[in-house]
Subunit: 389 residues, 4 copies
């Protein structure tokens, strides 16, 4: 294989323990692969060229483990990190597997469940920080409802915000260098989930006590499930200064949460996403939140991980070549693409300039008949993607 | 028919001129109904019990009309309003029909097109204000893209914000009593549109110069096209103090923009929406942005309008009866529904109360085995909806 | 509660052991309810008024049970059936849970897996017949693919047909009174599944050796996931004489397989479906393939089961009242609804009648301007559904 | 540009007059391009390397044209065909634009409308045959319903079949060498349409009087709108011997009917489709039923047409290279891909072979733990698609 597409730590690729450790259980089928020791995952990922590994508290420390067990596990895990140089850039809490969260976690109707969810998250924050995490992801897997009568969504947002405010307060009090990243999802496992898209989560942040501490962890699969453009969503998060983390994978619109290998579905969106991240010189992690098909044994899992990273690097190279392709550059000029970067009213929106605008003569026929050449431009990009130019 | 469901002006139902005036054209078919005189629409809507009528500039004044024609049309229209008592609570601009906007309006790549879009909107604002509008809706029908290479979405958001800032500046300069309401839509007519959901639009407003002047006009069909819960979206807009207007209609998930009669599709969501609007004592207009099936003649159009209003009133009555139903109230207690309104940490998030939280003992087994009774609650509400309780 | 909506055995409602026995496991969460003894399920369902109970082989007899264990289980189960009078109208095979089927069952690439799948099904057919089943459902939960390169879909259809032919041959050889019902599904757990809709399965049957032995088991959720009209699909199955069984539940378009309580989502489609089944005097089972929300304890499961049946009965009563409603009947005349039942060319399609047709004068303007009154008709049916007429 | 991707007549690419002649009208916008003379379209398409051109009756002869006008138009069109060598392999009828069809055509409730639809189709068949068409496509653009109460779907299928039977009868009587191809579509412009997928249409054909005369015209966009795998659908049509024609374009799941340039969306599905057509040595036309973005002028339309054909040729070359790639071939062996072509029970399904099957010993653990290597295989194909191997 071409060396160009061999991942290196400086590419900042990360995986969750739960991704390579996924055992292939699904709603209709039992697990098909044996459990992976987290330290083994670390060593394999390091060999493959990853930069880091992320986890939910219970990916590392089983639910209900004693303090002694926890410490032993953390020690072993830390040793693997030190041996391999792998980092833990992000951590998160499992607030969805245990039946206690069946009706919600931060937005459960029962205040005791909400308090337990916060307490579990605080413990998990300590664990993450202990291992070096600087980003803490919050996916509200059970924050939602099937029976709409059972929960007032406005009050649920109050409680969601309250939980975030407490977490921020705690991090500030401890002087942790930690920021939070909300991960939106429209549905599954709940019928409808709160903060269903990047937009809803961005809007929510504006109502928190420490909005500067909270950003987004958009996930390709989650935005795509709703048929929304993932790269547009990420662009809006970047535009708002709120892209704190990102979850890369593959997904087809209007399906169950597939979490396929990055690049395996939605090549076009994947390309524009990579181009956007690279164009904007985004300096965060390229995290893969995906898992191998259930048809795979453990060898297939490592092929899956390798494939995620290779696809990113292949698309990154194409994103670079985009700008070196003179026909594409000419087509962009035909499309007046740079015009979107010019202020519409260079003089600003004062009274005189508005008056000037209204007296301006517009050649409507000329403007209406202009052809923007998008078919040619789009085809050129497709051919770049297909590797025939 | 039951008088309870006969609309009255105090119910604040409004229609767009373009809704009852829709001539049944679609992507594959010609128009099937003759043009309606706006003044006739006003008279019919008044007879049916509507409160008001809204319009795009070109619904009332044809594109390219002279000043004299404009004045004559406005005079006739105003006379109909005065005769009937109908109000014009909202106005908007057509920035999508004319070929000049084919590549965008406020986010067109060509700055001249953007300036023209703003100028046309300013003229239209004057017209709306002249007729009494206090809400100005902005639907970015052409703000989007098919060929993603052609437009940087971050720059597009810059231009979108710039346009909004100019419009706000103008309204402030004129001392108009007018607020803006953004209408999100995910796609159609463009492949992907900017501000695709209520969430994305809410988030965008936070970046404007006068965020207090700009809110949302969520549309049932638009949020539903993406498979998102409309009533959750409206709840988040209310929570943010940003529900300025609302567009009611019917739609099935993952389809073309159907704009069916309110209540005709998505009865369950429609019920929770009406309940939410009534519970929150929202005092805005109940606007129907829908049109009659293409199978209808003009008589069918008026049946369509009557049906929209009746369905709202039927659902409103059910929303009231929800609270009078003792079995439903008991099921809400079983679901601990009021618990979501209690603060999670009544003492606030200070250091001591966080420490207290972490030392709290949780009866996980008890919390996990509790049954919330959502099946019974949901069935009771369904039976309320079906009129058998 | 109204006695009209209390189910009785003659209503022919059935449940799968796996439906009331569902323990609330989902892709992100552990089971929340204890295991149910099949005999207990039988007794509870009988109390609730069900007619019968259906099962996958491993719902009743655990995978890998010895012959002695099997016999003991069957004996206990049969005793519960005899005590309660409950029937077993349908049985099916679990060809999806065990890892051996991870790449497919009847369409696995490995011939040994396919042979095992057939052998397991033959054993399961014996079990079903032993307990009285006359319908055998085949849901190809693993018949599909994510990596399209790995399997030729034409060859997969060959193998699928081969498996069906063997099963039919076996049933004929044993003189079992058993017919097969294919259950289509578009995706989940596989990325894409073969025979994804009612249509694809109906078409497939025409290529089997004993097409008369094979029909359909359409499922509300499965057809709805693709955004297709379920009642249209069932109508086509009835039209083809191929509705052998039916799976009723609730589902929203473009989501994971929700299997919600019948009537809880898609009220309108559910109504037209019930009306179709009753209008056509379909004499099969009304089977619920659904499960309780994960928020529920065991009491909630029985409420779920009760709700499924009540909703059917409520809708059945509305379907009867449809024909007694004079305004609806008048609206049907306006819509020329009976015209669809008249032959278009009463004289048949011979040369003369075709010549006559071509010389016929058509009043195109009159035909084009006729209003079909669908808005009024649809609103009347909505009001019937909402119980306000 | 690479000559390999320059289309030639022997590639059998065809376009509809309505595709390159599309004027950019959409539900919210006016047309943006001037009308094209059909003879000019013929000349341009010939220059671009197309094989043929197809049409609806009214694409060529305006609705209501006199016999003399018709003859003149046909004469001019035929001259362009003769000059260029372009063929007319397919023709079809416009049964959707005129208001007379607003409630349906072959399945209209009004028998007069149905008779007119048949008469118009017979005229159009004569026109198609006169110009050499051997395939006649039937897209039921208005065969469906929004108000479900208004039409019994079983009776609608009776009428649909009756219409097909009359058309077949006519073609046989005239000894035309013409076969029919049904084009399924799930919705748009109707709320739900009859024969919504390839499967439903295939099943329907089995109920016609001359099933051998009727096959399918599957369209990429239409099957994809429902989220179904297009190449699986085409595979089933080929398997049934019923792929008579095909409509190629681009579409995203769960959106309005986009009819984008072939290859522009859904690259992966497009690749497997091209591979399937080439693998099966399908000898029909590669027809593009798509249109240029509304941003384009006429030059953009020709780029659109060129792009459709180039993308097919690029994918065709990749489909050939698939078999020359030794790593892919090795991965197919790992996936046991050829196993799907072996009979499951080589001895057939007789009593002895079934008994043998049931006594066979299966190594379930071995079969369950085997890894099929789909992640690696899928990645290799992706890299082939992206042109990096």
């Amino acid at each position: 294989m071409n060396d160009t597409y061999t991942p290196r730590p400086e590419d900042h690729f990360t995986f969750g323990l739960w991704t390579v450790g996924n055992r292939g259980r699904d709603p209709f089928g039992d697990q098909v692969r044996p459990a992976l020791d987290p330290a083994d995952s670390v060593r394999h990922l390091a060999e493959l060229g990853a930069y880091g590994v992320n986890f939910h508290d219970n990916d590392l420390v089983p639910f209900g483990a004693s303090a002694a067990e926890r410490d032993k596990i953390v020690r072993n895990f830390r040793r693997a990190l030190e041996e391999t140089g792998l980092k833990v850039p992000m951590a998160t809490t499992n607030l969805f597997y245990h039946p206690v969260f069946k009706e919600g976690a931060f937005t459960a109707n029962d205040p005791k469940v909400r308090r337990y969810a916060i307490a579990k998250t605080l413990d998990s924050i300590d664990l993450g920080v202990e291992l070096g995490a600087e980003i803490y992801v919050l996916w509200g897997g059970r924050e939602g409802v099937e029976c709409d009568a059972a929960k007032d969504p406005r009050a649920a947002l109050d409680r969601y915000a309250e939980a975030l405010n407490v977490l921020c307060e705690y991090v500030r009090d401890r002087n942790y260098k930690l920021r939070f990243a909300l991960e939106p999802k429209p549905n599954e496992p709940r019928g409808d989930m709160f903060l269903p898209t990047v937009g809803h989560a961005l809007a929510f942040i504006g109502h928190l006590e420490h909005p500067e501490m909270v950003g987004l962890n958009p996930e390709f699969a989650h935005e795509t499930m709703s048929g929304l453009s993932f790269h547009h969503a990420v662009a809006q998060a970047l535009w708002a200064g709120k892209l704190f983390h990102i979850d890369l994978n593959g997904q087809r619109i209007g399906k169950f949460d597939q979490d396929f290998r990055f690049g395996s579905e939605g090549i076009r969106d994947a390309f524009y996403l990579v181009k956007l991240l690279e164009d904007s010189k985004w300096n965060g992690m390229r995290h893969f939140d995906a898992h191998a098909y259930r048809t795979e044994d453990q060898a297939g899992v490592w092929e899956f991980a390798r494939g995620c990273m290779r696809s990113y690097l292949i698309l990154r190279e194409k994103a670079q070549r985009f700008y070196e392709d003179e026909e594409i550059m000419a087509a962009l000029r035909e499309a007046k693409a740079s015009g979107i970067k010019e202020p519409t009213i260079p003089a600003g929106g004062g009274r005189d300039s508005i008056a000037g605008l209204r007296s301006e003569k517009f050649d409507l026929d000329g403007m209406a008949s202009y052809g923007y050449g998008h078919e040619r431009l789009d085809q050129l990009v497709l051919e770049l993607l297909l590797g025939v130019r």
